[in-house]
């Protein structure tokens, strides 16, 4: 089991009833009927990118009428495979182990195997969804018989499992790029000298499922009363996130809110940082004020029980953990990173704190904690922003439009390039 299991809705929708419900495409959906799309991800386990992949695959199949397959490059069936089956989307794993230190000959052999496998799939469109598969597909797509390949940029160059030369080469060969954030698009343009008209910004989609349990039930399980300030950060506990700054900030928050109980919930898969975070929590005397929940299935229910979303990170593309809090109508206090700024929009930006600044983050949190009216107003604004800017339908429509444009066909809905045009 990977990531926070926020995909419960997808599991439910992955039943035959879900497929049926999704079968009637809206009138304005661009049609991709007869277009064969292969989406290529890494492991078939659920993470932020994989959830976007699944939502998009479902849209392309059921709304746009495309013939979609999801491919993984390592591991087994995983949760993604299970959910694909529920959606009626074929999936497969083509083993593509890759080590940066391998020699050229070995890498070339791997890529040749990858090319042959894709050639057999007879795809019209390749949609790789993580850095590694972006590079694989970028390098090989012309040999696979595909008509187009669209690179999907999810962050600003933090994961670099391939060397810069190979990546540069792949970007030269790739015709189209979609980034889930403006700064991701800028990264591509500035670092690889891409033509901005070939780079589109297509935001992530968020769709919270119905809560399994209500606020009171969650609070009872957590052992906190209604008067307790409950904040949550939804993110896996790994090195890219900066939970440590958040925990240090929480020490300040607890001190400043003396007299009122304040509990911070960290909901996410234990991904290597949990021991260090537990030790930090212990050392700061926060054992009763910080709870590491691990993966949570009923994220909607959990968010419904909270008063505030928090998010501390070193780098972000378009953080699902922030978007989900916003979708749940929560105000968000977070690290001031380009991806977070883009997510929260102008109204939410005053509650962002400089990267690594625990005191500043604590001040933003305390400001919201002490002002229920401000929390409610910002929460409403956040929900509205997500409902207009970050929906799965919008993700699907914009991607379909990009595919049609890349295939040189007419049609398609709104879409913005890297300059927001």
């Amino acid at each position: 089991m990977t990531v926070i299991e926020r995909f419960r809705v997808s599991e439910e929708e992955g039943t035959s009833a879900g497929q049926h419900a999704a079968a009637a495409p809206p009138a304005d959906a661009p049609s991709l009927r007869g277009v064969r799309v292969v989406m290529v991800i890494g492991q078939l386990e659920l993470g932020g990118s994989e959830r976007q992949t699944l939502a998009l695959a479902r849209y392309l199949k059921h709304q746009a009428g495309a013939d979609v397959e999801v491919w993984g490059c390592y591991g087994g069936r995983g949760r993604v495979g299970e959910i694909c089956e529920g959606y009626g989307i074929p999936w497969r794993v083509i083993p593509m182990p890759w080590r940066p230190w391998w020699g050229r000959a070995k890498k070339a052999r791997r890529l040749a195997q990858f090319t042959l496998a894709l050639r057999g799939a007879r795809a019209d469109v390749l949609l790789p969804y993580i850095t590694l598969t972006n590079v694989f597909c970028g390098l090989t797509w012309k040999l696979t018989g595909a008509k187009v390949c669209i690179w999907s940029q999810r962050e600003a160059g933090i994961h670099e499992p391939v060397g810069p030369r190979l990546k540069r080469w792949a970007t030269r060969l790739t015709p189209w790029f979609a980034s889930n954030s403006r700064h991701g698009a800028d990264y591509l343009i500035q670092n690889f000298g891409l033509d901005p008209s070939r780079v589109c910004v297509i935001h992530n989609g968020v769709d919270l499922p119905a809560a399994e349990r209500d606020r009171a039930s969650w609070r009872a399980e957590l052992g906190v009363g209604e008067d307790c300030l409950l904040a949550v950060m939804v993110a896996n506990l790994n090195l890219l996130k900066d939970h440590a700054t958040l925990i240090r900030a929480w020490r300040v928050v607890v001190d400043r809110l003396a007299g009122r109980r304040a509990v911070l919930l960290l909901a996410g898969k234990f991904d290597g940082e949990e021991t260090a975070l537990k030790v930090l929590t212990f050392d700061l005397g926060l054992c009763e004020s910080v709870k590491l929940l691990g993966p949570v299935r009923d994220v909607s229910g959990l968010l419904g029980a909270c008063d505030l979303g928090v998010f501390s990170s070193h780098t972000e593309g378009s953080p699902n953990g922030v978007l989900e809090c916003m979708a749940a109508g929560l105000p968000v206090a977070a690290t001031d990173l380009p991806g977070v700024r883009e997510a929260v929009g102008p109204e939410g930006q005053r509650f962002l704190a400089p990267h690594g600044d625990a005191e500043a983050l604590a001040s933003r949190i305390v400001e919201l904690a002490e002002n229920p009216a401000a929390r409610a107003a910002l929460g409403r604004a956040n929900r509205q922003r997500v409902e207009t800017e970050f929906t799965y339908d919008r993700l699907g429509q914009q991607t379909s439009a990009l595919i049609l444009r890349a295939l040189g066909r007419a049609g398609g809905g709104e879409m913005s390039d890297a300059h927001g045009r």
Binding site: E274, T275, K278, V279, T281, F282, D283, G285, C287, E288
Partner: protein, 419 residues
């Protein structure tokens, strides 16, 4: 070796005056403070101050508390080329051993006293090349950090005398390593608590606990062979039980943060012991700390004769701990009732709770413990018994040299000639 020397050795008789002016090199592990290092330094100070020996302490790694104490005691110390880590390559290991032997030879020792298993093996291997007259193996545990059968066997053959600080340590030497029983002597640790720097009230105030809080303490570095994990699990149960009785309970873990402290803090977090466990790190004023405490606890899976237990006993505390041979030997028959099977958190919690709820039993056990320390684990006893072994080893070397010399053996003459 003559039979009379053996008799002296076994009986503990023997002159102690032979060390006047003798160069004694005590070889410990890292220059940090653990139970074995504390004993080594106590002995070193005694030999230097009371016997007029020229003592040096050799260790490795970054100079830590052991080096500081050496300076306090006026004992020389140095970071020595102790052949660590033990290499898989015989050639590399041989080179390191030669370098170590050369360093020792240059120091012109009369007596080499290695403490702990690894140091005892490497000193056993090289001591005859160093010009020393005697080397006494000091077994402080039940066989940690093994080096491989060949090296151990050779070291045992070359080492003349062995001290173990516990019966089961001696048993390990004899039964596992095949040391001749008549060459092994059990010399218990010597414990004497320094005067406290702060009293009970000051310590409790510093810890932020009132006088009604039940305070237990384990004095031990946070290392893998201690079993703090079981103790923390037991403490979870203790806290619950005592809370039901309306009492707060806090466990103090006093000891250097070695390899396990991260995992232990994470476990304490998981067990929701944030308010009930304190990781104190290394504590200088152990006597003061113990005066503030109601109970000593000790959970371990590999012990020679644990100083952490002996210090609690010396402070007049009752001790609940693991039923392990070294701990049994420390607490004696009167303390057996408070020991729990290894790894059994529930049983350990029961022993702790029983003592927590019975102040009179605690006091009785504490007094018995203090008396036992004064009779069995007094430093004077440890010094005398160790000196008798050293003296026996030196006399053995002299008689061996005389015999060799009479027979025209050049090697024996060389050994005797140096001194």
């Amino acid at each position: 070796m003559g039979g009379n020397i053996q008799e002296d050795f076994r009986s503990g008789r023997g002159e102690a005056a032979t060390l006047e002016g003798a160069r004694v090199i005590i070889v410990i592990g890292p220059l940090e403070l653990g139970g074995a290092e504390r004993q080594a330094l106590l002995l070193g100070r005694h030999l230097a101050r009371e016997r007029g020996a020229e003592v040096e302490v050799w260790g490795y790694g970054k100079p830590g508390r052991a080096a500081e104490l050496c300076e306090e005691y006026g004992i020389k110390w140095r970071v020595a080329p102790i052949p660590l880590p033990w290499s898989d390559s015989r050639l590399t290991q041989l080179r390191r051993l030669v370098a170590f032997a050369r360093a020792l030879r240059a120091a012109r020792p009369d007596v080499i006293l290695p403490f702990m298993f690894f140091q005892s093996v490497v000193c056993g291997l090289v001591w005859k090349l160093t010009g020393a007259r005697a080397c006494v193996w000091n077994q402080r545990c039940e066989g940690r950090d093994r080096l491989g059968r060949r090296a151990e066997k050779l070291a045992i053959r070359l080492t003349p005398y062995f001290i173990a600080n516990s019966e089961h340590g001696a048993g390990f030497l004899v039964n596992t390593l095949g040391v001749r029983e008549d060459l092994v002597r059990v010399v218990h640790n010597g414990v004497r608590l320094a005067p406290p720097q702060e009293g009970r009230a000051a310590w409790r105030a510093r810890l932020g606990v009132g006088d009604d809080c039940f305070l237990a303490c384990m004095v031990a570095n946070l290392q893998t062979f201690k079993d703090h994990v079981t103790l923390l699990k037991a403490w979870r149960l203790v806290v619950k039980r005592l809370r039901a009785e309306g009492r707060e309970a806090v466990l103090l873990l006093a000891g250097r943060f070695d390899e396990t402290h991260i995992d232990l803090k994470a476990l304490a977090y998981d067990l929701e012991l944030g308010r009930s466990v304190r990781f104190l790190g290394q504590v200088k004023d152990v006597s003061g700390l113990l005066s503030a405490v109601d109970l000593g606890v000790h959970s371990s899976v590999n012990e020679g004769c644990p100083n952490g237990v002996l210090e609690c006993m010396a402070a007049g505390l009752a001790v609940a701990g693991t039923d392990y041979p070294g701990i049994r030997e420390a607490v004696g028959p009167a303390g057996y009732a408070h020991l729990a099977p290894p790894g059994d958190a529930e049983a350990l919690a029961e022993r702790v709770v029983a003592l927590a709820l019975d102040a009179e039993a605690r006091q009785t056990a504490g007094e018995a413990n203090r008396r036992r320390i004064e009779t069995e684990f007094h430093p004077r006893k440890m010094f005398e018994e160790t000196e008798s072994v050293i003296a026996a080893a030196m006399r053995g070397a002299s008689s061996e040299a005389r015999e060799s010399s009479a027979g025209g053996a050049s090697r024996g003459a060389a050994l005797a000639g140096k001194h």
